[in-house]
Symmetry: none
Subunit: 166 residues, 2 copies
DNA sequence: TAAAATTCCATGATATCCCATAAAATGGCA
DNA sequence: TGCCATTTTATGGGATATCATGGAATTTTA
């Protein structure tokens, strides 16, 4: 089975910025790090810039490697490549779980997404997101109402099955 | 794992031009120098000419070697090759980290990119850039607005997914 | 030999490691 | 199926190592 990031949970962020990564997510990070062995702790990548400036996004090594390889196919000095590198490499950082399954959010990262002493982790399949709780609730509400306002043929659930037919 | 240059950080440049290279970048430089051993300090290459005259670009030995090989494929006396060699070979220099993980930016280099007493290091995957902070902010803003003004089918993120299909 | 560059040492700040504990989840097993 | 033993999690505190930076001493070089 290829595990995916699923579920949401709330965690304390202590004075040093340490926060536990949900245990279920750790399993996915371990599977997604080719160099992970029982004795070590998995590496992964956190992207903090990009389209959504209000949350952090965590990627396994193998899924970010896929993205990196695609970017490397673009012409070395092209504007497109520059934009993507800026969003995906410049505005990201490697992280490693510590022995207790935690990571450290630097002051800069906390500030970026408005986190003080609590964080919400949300599974998004191939990636997960880290949100400040209030912002997260707003995001959920916004998505909810956006969905309700869609017409029948805009319904993404229905589009899913159309994709399958191709 | 093949580490890539990720993240951005601000560092002081002292009167002698010394500046710390971000610790995370040092690891990449070490991995990218075939001759690096535990006891030594990694060599790498800084390009100061190139497409953008307003920042320096740092390459690991192995990634600059890739670029060199690409250039070598061009016809020996072609204008293209001459131009590229001028930018990548002539306008570049070898550097080595000192024991504290610093490099020295000569007066000439600092002047070239307008640096006084602070520098921003930005990870760009296979290379990293060194910027004067204000110029860097301008560049980021310019990229941001360039990105925002793109039409749907010009979006480099979406182009990535199309690449995936190839 | 004076200026410039390089090496060596010092230090405060930050990040990392290591241990401790309580709560929760898991797993027998009668 | 109810209870206890064991493991896993979530969280905190203190010790230690690394990092960023400055200054002095030494070497190079022009």
């Amino acid at each position: 089975m290829i595990r995916r990031f699923r579920g949401e949970s709330l965690h304390k962020v202590d004075a040093k910025g340490r926060v536990s990564v949900p245990a279920a997510f750790r399993r996915v990070l371990e599977e997604g790090d080719p160099e992970f062995t029982g004795g070590s702790y998995p590496n992964f990548v956190v992207v903090y810039g990009g389209v959504r400036g209000n949350c952090l996004e965590g990627y396994t090594i193998s899924s970010i490697t896929k993205v990196d390889k695609l970017i490397s196919k673009l012409a070395r000095f092209s504007r497109d490549r520059e934009i993507l590198e800026r969003f995906i490499n410049t505005q990201s950082t490697y992280m490693q779980l510590d022995e207790n399954g935690r990571i450290v959010l630097s002051y800069r990262l906390k500030e970026k997404i408005g986190i003080r002493d609590e964080a919400i982790f949300a599974g998004m399949g191939e990636k997960f997101q880290i949100w400040e709780p209030k912002n997260y609730q707003n995001e959920v509400d916004a998505l909810d109402s956006a969905f309700k306002n869609l017409s029948e043929d805009e319904n993404p659930f229905l589009k899913l099955d159309q994709l399958q037919d191709l």
